[in-house]
Amino acid sequence: MKRADALSVIYAELEPCVVVTIMGAVAAELHALGHRPNFFYLEHAMGLASSMGLGIALSRPELTVVVLDGDGSILMNLGSLTTMARYRPPNLIHVVFDNEVLLSVGQSFTTATACGSDIAAMAAAAGIPRTSTVHTVEAFQQAFCEALQAGELTTLVAKVTAQGPTSYFIDVHMLENRFAFQRYLTSPRPPAGSG
């Protein structure tokens, strides 16, 4: 499965959600589908996207928060799996795109998931109540929609090919993104989206 295809099949579902992505390919590919003010691209601070998502989910239980993480990023902050599991916000969906490599620095530096480390199993062992690993776009779409319906903390690992976008350019400055995202979150009437 290509990550870009996986993103495209859940793009419509993301409209009413609060979305935090990691940097690089995930951010660029989501942005390429069409930027929205409820999307925040964490362009640095590898590992902290899941922590940010947890902070938002705990602060705003009425919102559904989707974190779009990666194998390299979550491996930098495995403790976050235990912290998410401990507080278990039912409004948090943690998606991990696992391409088994640190893609933005080339194809050569594989992560430990290329050698058998299993992120969904680690998430389950950390205590996250719903976990799964999917290998096809169809299975990903179904698992993501089920997670939205479930109303329970979920880590969904999507095994994707190590293939990035042709361009990593994002036509939204980091601070522009940050302030617009904050405004979206704190506006007196939070946008209800299409749902």
């Binding site: 925040f40 940010m52 902070g55 705990l58 602060s59 705003r60 912290t83 401990r86 995202f181 979150l185």
Partner: protein
Amino acid sequence: MPVSTAHSQLIYTALKQCGVRLLSALPETWLVHLVALGEADPDMTLVRLAKEEEGVGISAGAHLAGVKSAMLMQNHGLLASANGIVSLAQLYRIPLLMLVSYRGEFGEEHPWQTEGGGATEPLLQALRIPYERLEAPDHVAPRILKAQALAEASLRPVALLLCRDLMWEDEV
């Protein structure tokens, strides 16, 4: 326990005065009363961390979502959080209120705490983080409130160093 209960209460009251509703913490001895106060407070979300840097992400999320937060950690936790502070809180202009127990100064009896003491203020200076020391009870409320005011106005991290003379009641 010679950790000051009264001074911990003063600090907690000042955090409440600042409007803090989420406290992320990785406790050490000096912080046990503060963590317990957070735990007992139904209006406070206490997040017990596995590693301090997570707290930077959690506070950033809380801030963008409209909730005031603070981090409670030891100075060694500050050292462990340096990249998150730079690459998230500073890069994205997040007002991060950090309360840091300052181990390794004069009076420190534990050899393993001593290296961190010498690195703490130089690190804060290198990161251009405004900070003040809380050494006496009359420092607590005004300095915490002013630190929060600067954090909110500048949209940058600030630190308060919880010093031995405030936190620890040496047995005489």
